[in-house]
Structure formats: structure tokens, C-alpha cells
């Protein structure tokens, strides 16, 4: 008797747990489990209702982003301003740092519970869009809910996947070089012009190292990844194929040339070895900031934080051109997007919020280009008189980038994070002399193609 009782209790507990757990797992197909199905029906019903009596009930939006404390404060303020202007909308928000953000978003996606509006990144956009998790925004532009009339196409195109618009760029930046003009002068090296080439860069680096005894740069321009991408683009090719299943550039020579240049500078002592590069964990100990180097690879919006940390004027330069380049390697990069979830129940309101964020001048006076240069020309004009020197440098620099750039490549494929890690490992192996650039080039192609083919399945 006693045994039976206890067994029964345990069995019931287990069964109920297993059932509830199954219910919360994503169904294999739409007819999968009954609970999710019911919920979907409910969702559809609610959606129908809200469409039916538009503006009747209070719409609720959930918004999620990553960033620093500064960004959180600014964004929350704008959310409150939006709520004030739209009394029929209440907004719940959530935020975190970059670490952990994507784990959380993936879990929410798996639970069919994505926030209505959430921050997207270029390397994840395609993955989410292709899985049908994001709402295509073109119809909203047509219906006038989303106004992109003051936005240049080059700032929009990064948000497109297979021709459809899935993300609105919250600010533009570009991979670039931040440099200290005073150190350049001290070394007797001319400051970079928009036309400077790889030869100019190599010369400048060597001279700075010889004259001042410091490192020229912490990494090679653009770091291992953006740098290589830039170099490949200059030769009229792409790093990834359009469908994201393989590497696209045809000639391993490009890989070899690029890393041979880096290796040369490391051997001369103009660039540090990877072990020393590791020491940099935050802006404050960036070599440029501590005057251990005259340059740093960064994205253009980071100049604001770096100037603040260095407490002396810094300037921005383009990644070097190639003397025989086929096209411009530089491109305007969306620093991050807002995307609307396809499961959102209040899509119109969600898009309206994105529109407010993009076009409203008062809102942008609060945001103050913290996410990069705003994409709306009207907003940019309104902000210019309010900018600090570093912000002005960033705004002006983006104009230079636009004049010296070619359209951005399609968003990185799902396998990108793993390919990135592979390239980092190979770079270190080259710098420690365990592989020659030629060997690394072959290995990179082999391994990267494997990763890309697998993740595209």
C-alpha cells in the first residue's frame, strides 16, 4: 500500500512535469502539440480584435535592446516620451549588455515569445529573417507608417535580406582607424588622407615605431576579420557567397598578401604579438589611449568613448586603399537595427515606435547619436550644432566614408561567428610562426567552407 501511494505521487508529478515541459517546447510543425496550437489561435484572435477596433484598447509593446548604461538611460527616456505622445500604448522594456543578449533572444524565439521590437545586429539579421521570425517592413513604408523619405538608400540597404527590409538602421558607422594626430606629428609622419594606401600605412607604421619606439597600432587595420573583408572587397570580390554556403573570393593570394603584411610589421616590432594584444580589455587600456600605440582599429562611433578615455583629441582615418583597387573596400555599416517580430500582436504600433526613434528630432536630441550617426538627414542637421568635438569628427568622417565607399555586402551568414573564431585562431598561429600565410589561406578555405555548408543546412 505504502509503496503504491508514494509511487503514484511520484508518477503523477513526473507525468505532469513532462507534459508541461513538452508544451513549452517548440512544436516540430504546426500540428505538433495542442498547447502551442491553442495559444497561436488565441494570438490570431487577439490580432484580429486589435485590427478590428483600432485604438480602442491599450496596446502593449515589449522592447529589448543591448548596450551600456548610457544607452539604457537615453532609450528609456525616449520610450517615456513616446508613451506620453501615444496614450494608447504602454511599453515594457528590458535591456542587457551584449554578453548574454543573444542567448536570451534565442531562448525567447524558441519559446515563440519574441519582444515586439528588439535590437538586431548585422551578423544575426539574416539568420532571424530567414527563419521567418522578423516582419518585413516594406508594406509599412508604403502605408506611410514608417517614413524613410529623409534617409539615403545606402543607410537602408544593410537592413535588407533577400530584397526585403527586416531591420531599420539605428545609426551608421564604419570600420576605421582611430589615430593620435600629435603622435603622427612627433614622428614626422603625414596624417592619413582619404587616399592613403596600404604602402602609406606600412611606411607610417614603420616610421612611428622607429622614431617613437612605440607600437604603431594594436592590431592590423580592421583587425583580422574586417581587415581581410576590406582587402577582399578592394579586389572586387566578396568574403561570403550570397547564399552564405561558402567563401566567395576565388584567390587565396588575397588572404596570403593581407596576412603577410601584418606578419612583416609584427616581426619588425611595429605591431604587438597576440599575447600583448590580449591585455586590452576595455577602452581605458587601449594602447592608443595609453600612448603605447599611435593607432587603433575601431568602429567610428567608438571615437567618442576613446577620446573621453584618452582626454586628448583623436581623429578618424579610412582603412587604407589598395593601389590597384577595383572598387572601394569601405562601406557604411549599420551599427545596429530595430526589428519587429513577426509574432508581434501590435505591429502597427511597433513600427510607429521605430519610426519615432528614427525621425523624431526631440527623441534624437535625447539619443544624441549614441548608436552611431542617425540615418535621417533632417535629424543629422538638427543635431550638428549640439555635438561635442569627437562627435563632430565622427559625423564628418561618415561623410568621407560615404564618398569613398561601395555598397555593403549581404549580412553575414549564420556560420559567421564560428568562421570568425577560426580566422582568429589562424591569425595567432601565423603570428607565432606555426603556419605560413599560404598554409593558413588553404586551411581557412577548407574549414570555413565546411562550417558554412553545415550551418546553411
Amino acid at each position: 500500500m505504502k509503496k503504491w501511494w508514494s509511487l503514484l505521487v511520484v508518477v503523477i508529478l513526473v507525468i505532469s512535469m513532462v507534459l508541461t515541459a513538452c508544451g513549452s517546447q517548440p512544436a516540430k510543425d504546426n500540428t505538433g502539440s495542442s498547447t502551442t496550437n491553442d495559444q497561436q489561435k488565441q494570438d490570431e484572435q487577439k490580432q484580429g480584435e486589435s485590427k478590428g477596433n483600432a485604438g480602442g484598447e491599450k496596446a502593449e509593446l515589449r522592447i529589448f535592446w543591448w548596450g551600456s548604461q548610457d544607452r539604457h538611460d537615453r532609450t528609456i527616456k525616449v520610450i517615456e516620451m513616446f508613451e506620453e505622445k501615444n496614450p494608447d500604448v504602454t511599453i515594457q522594456y528590458e535591456f542587457s549588455g551584449w554578453d548574454g543578449y543573444w542567448e536570451k533572444v534565442a531562448a525567447l524565439a524558441a519559446a515563440n515569445n519574441l519582444p515586439d521590437v528588439f535590437q538586431q545586429d548585422y551578423q544575426y539579421l539574416a539568420q532571424y529573417a530567414k527563419k521567418g521570425l522578423l516582419e518585413a517592413l516594406d508594406p509599412y513604408v508604403e502605408r506611410g507608417i514608417l517614413d524613410l523619405s529623409d534617409v539615403d538608400e545606402s543607410s537602408i540597404v544593410g537592413g535588407r535580406v533577400n530584397g526585403k527590409l527586416y531591420g531599420i538602421n539605428l545609426g551608421s558607422n564604419a570600420p576605421c582607424i582611430v589615430y593620435d594626430p600629435a603622435l603622427f606629428q612627433q614622428a614626422g609622419v603625414p596624417e592619413p588622407t582619404p587616399d592613403w594606401t596600404w604602402e602609406d600605412y606600412m611606411d607610417a607604421a614603420k616610421k612611428i615605431h622607429e622614431k617613437l619606439g612605440i607600437y604603431a597600432d594594436r592590431t592590423f587595420p580592421g583587425g583580422y576579420f574586417h581587415g581581410l573583408k576590406h582587402y577582399v572587397r578592394q579586389h572586387g570580390q566578396k568574403l561570403y557567397s550570397d547564399d552564405g554556403t561558402k567563401l566567395d573570393y576565388s584567390d587565396d593570394k588575397l588572404f596570403e598578401e593581407f596576412f603577410t603584411m601584418e606578419l612583416e610589421l609584427v616581426k619588425q616590432g611595429a605591431l604587438p604579438m597576440p599575447d600583448e594584444r590580449l591585455e586590452v580589455k576595455s577602452v581605458e587600456d587601449e594602447f592608443l589611449v595609453t600612448k603605447k600605440a599611435a593607432m587603433a582599429a575601431a568602429h567610428s562611433n567608438q571615437i567618442v568613448a576613446m577620446t573621453k578615455a584618452a582626454n586628448r583629441p583623436l581623429k578618424l582615418a579610412l582603412l587604407p586603399k589598395h593601389k590597384d583597387q577595383v572598387k572601394e573596400g569601405m562601406y557604411v555599416k549599420p551599427s545596429q537595427f530595430f526589428s519587429v517580430a513577426s509574432t508581434s500582436k501590435n505591429k502597427d504600433k511597433a513600427v510607429q515606435f521605430v519610426n519615432y526613434f528614427t525621425n523624431d528630432i526631440e527623441a534624437n536630441k535625447v539619443l544624441m547619436a549614441e548608436r552611431g550617426v542617425p540615418i535621417s538627414s533632417k535629424v543629422r542637421e538638427a543635431l550638428i550644432p549640439l555635438l561635442s568635438d569627437a562627435q563632430k569628427e565622427m559625423f564628418n568622417f561618415m561623410e568621407v566614408v560615404i564618398a569613398n565607399s561601395s555598397p555593403i555586402d549581404p549580412p553575414d551568414p549564420p556560420g559567421h561567428p564560428e568562421v570568425d573564431k577560426l580566422l582568429k585562431n589562424l591569425e595567432e598561429q601565423m603570428l607565432y610562426g606555426q603556419l605560413t600565410p599560404a598554409e593558413a589561406a588553404i586551411k581557412f578555405r577548407e574549414e570555413a567552407n565546411k562550417i558554412l555548408a553545415k550551418s546553411a543546412q
Binding site: A107, Q127, K131, L278, E428, Y432, Q434
Partner: protein, 309 residues
């Protein structure tokens, strides 16, 4: 007879009620255990046969994940190498260290509890961020170690111990050896169990310190060594925070611990199925090693009262 039976029944019913109440009281734990431990374990086993990126439903791939792991994944092999070399060096080092300090601290001296606490502190702060930062400060290019070595004239330019492929693993092993607190405490408890009369008898017979240590202390301590050995081996295989915080697996995967690679695969590259499969293989590896240690114990572990286990 009938009466007795009725009484029995009554007692039984009361027992059942008592049991039920017991289950009710532990239900918060029980529910948590089932929901957050049993179910995930089951789910991870099923998922290990799928390709699952969290964003779309899992796709059944059979043994594909397991095959890839051993046949086509170079980084997996690096992770195995790194983990094994870590376990094989760090665990014995830590145990030797713990035993050495325990022998020193077992005698009653002034302030001995202060010393014990002091030696235990590194284990308390475990794999925390603070320790990682400190380790980077100690072994960094401009770190304390380099300053001392330069001052002594042994080297003339700082070495990045953490970023250097030849030394990175050693910094982690050193960290593991430094955190010997919990095996040390267990050793101290074990040492106190050994009757002093044995030592007195040996002393009278003219045994010196070394003889007393090898002939009395070591044999009588073997059950404790055995216990510590197993616990430390298991936790060694599961080491994660050290390499995650200090080296991030670098340089080029020289310190890529198994658990760290698992984490990368699952949460950075969104290959949940692969991650699950890796977890099950890790369980198997740990199981095999534990079993081997148990088997070997017949030959070197001495029980005073012949224990059956």
C-alpha cells in the same frame, strides 16, 4: 488476530498519510528537481541526436553529431587534448599541495586556524572574475611576475604568460594548484582520524619522520586520498570558468577546455544539438575515469575496517 490486523491497517494508513505529508513538504524541491534537472537531462539526450539552432525546430540527424565530433572536428580534438593535459597535471599537483599543507597544519600550533582559513580563501573565491583579473595582472606582459624576473635579470623584456601558447596552460594549472583549499580541509580531517598511539609506537621503535609518514600516515590516509582524487578528477573535467575568464580558450585553442568549447558551440554558434552530444560524451568520459579509479582502488586503498561498497 482480526484485531491485530485492523490495527496494522490503521498504522499503515497513518504511515501513508505521513508519507504523503512528507512528499508535500519536499515538493518544492522535488518539482524543482524534476523540472530543472530530470527533464533537461532527458531533453538534452534527445536533442543530442538533432540539429537544433534554437530558432527553428530541432531536426533529427541520428548519430551525425557524434560522428562529426570524432571524425571531422579539429577543435573538438584540441579541446580534448587541453582538458586531458589539464586534468592529468593539475589534479595531482593540487592534491600533493593540499596534502603537504594539510600535514603542516594538522598539528596544534598557535594561530593554526588562522592559517587554515588563509589557505582556504583562494578556494572560496574560486573561478571568480576577481581572480581572473588578478591572474592577468600577475602574469600579464606588465605583470608582477615579469617585473620580478626583469629585476633579477633573468629576462629583459616582458613575456605575456597568458597569451603565449607555451605557457598559457601552465598559468591555469598554477591557478588550480593554488586553489587547494577544499581537499586540504578534507585531508586535515583525515589526518586527525589517525590515532596518535600509532605514531608513539613507531617513535619508540625508532622510526624517523619520513618513515612515520610513509608507513603510517599515507596508508591510513588512502581512503581520503581516494575520495579527493575522484572528486577533483570530476571537477577537473568540468573546469570552465578559469579558461572562460582568463584565456577564453586562446591562444589558438591551447586552453580550450571541454566545457568551454561546449558552451561556445551551444550558445555562441547556436549548435544546441552538438552541445548536448558533447555533454553526453563528457559524462561518458568522466564515468570511465571514475570507474577506472574505483577499480584501481583495490590495489592501493587500505580500509581499516574492510568496507564494502
Amino acid at each position: 488476530m482480526v484485531f491485530a490486523k485492523g490495527l496494522n491497517k490503521q498504522r499503515k494508513r497513518r504511515n501513508d498519510y505521513n508519507n504523503l505529508a512528507g512528499y508535500a513538504f519536499i515538493s518544492p524541491w522535488l518539482i524543482g528537481f524534476i523540472l530543472f534537472t530530470v527533464v533537461p537531462i532527458g531533453a538534452s539526450f534527445v536533442l543530442s541526436f538533432t540539429q537544433y539552432d534554437l530558432l527553428s525546430p530541432p531536426k533529427w540527424v541520428g548519430l551525425e553529431n557524434y560522428k562529426t565530433m570524432f571524425l571531422h572536428d579539429e577543435r573538438y580534438i584540441s579541446a580534448l587534448k587541453a582538458t586531458f593535459s589539464y586534468v592529468f597535471v593539475a589534479v595531482p599537483l593540487r592534491l600533493i599541495f593540499a596534502l603537504f599543507i594539510a600535514v603542516l597544519l594538522v598539528r596544534d600550533r598557535k594561530m593554526v586556524s588562522v592559517y587554515r582559513a588563509a589557505f582556504y580563501i583562494p578556494s572560496l573565491i574560486g573561478g571568480s572574475v576577481a581572480v581572473a583579473v588578478m591572474w592577468r595582472q600577475l602574469f600579464g606582459v606588465n605583470g608582477a611576475l615579469n617585473s620580478v624576473l626583469i629585476e633579477l635579470g633573468i629576462i629583459d623584456k616582458g613575456i605575456g604568460w597568458i597569451g603565449n601558447p607555451h605557457t598559457a596552460m601552465w598559468t591555469l594549472i598554477l591557478l588550480a594548484a593554488w586553489q587547494f583549499g577544499s581537499p586540504m580541509l578534507i585531508f586535515i580531517a583525515g589526518l586527525k582520524q589517525i590515532p596518535t598511539s600509532y605514531y608513539e609506537a613507531a617513535y619508540i621503535d625508532g622510526a624517523n619522520t619520513w618513515q612515520r609518514f610513509t608507513k603510517i600516515t599515507m596508508p591510513l590516509l588512502t581512503p581520503i586520498i581516494f575520495f579527493n582524487f575522484i572528486m577533483q578528477t570530476i571537477s577537473g573535467f568540468m573546469a570552465f570558468t578559469e579558461s572562460y575568464l582568463i584565456t577564453q580558450g586562446g591562444p589558438f585553442d591551447k586552453t580550450l577546455f571541454y566545457a568551454l568549447y561546449l558552451f561556445e558551440k551551444a550558445f555562441k554558434f547556436y549548435e544546441m544539438g552538438y552541445g548536448c552530444a558533447m555533454a553526453w560524451v563528457l559524462l561518458l568520459i568522466i564515468g570511465v575515469f571514475t570507474a577506472l579509479i574505483f577499480k584501481s582502488s583495490n590495489y592501493w586503498v587500505y580500509y581499516e575496517s574492510k568496507g564494502e561498497w
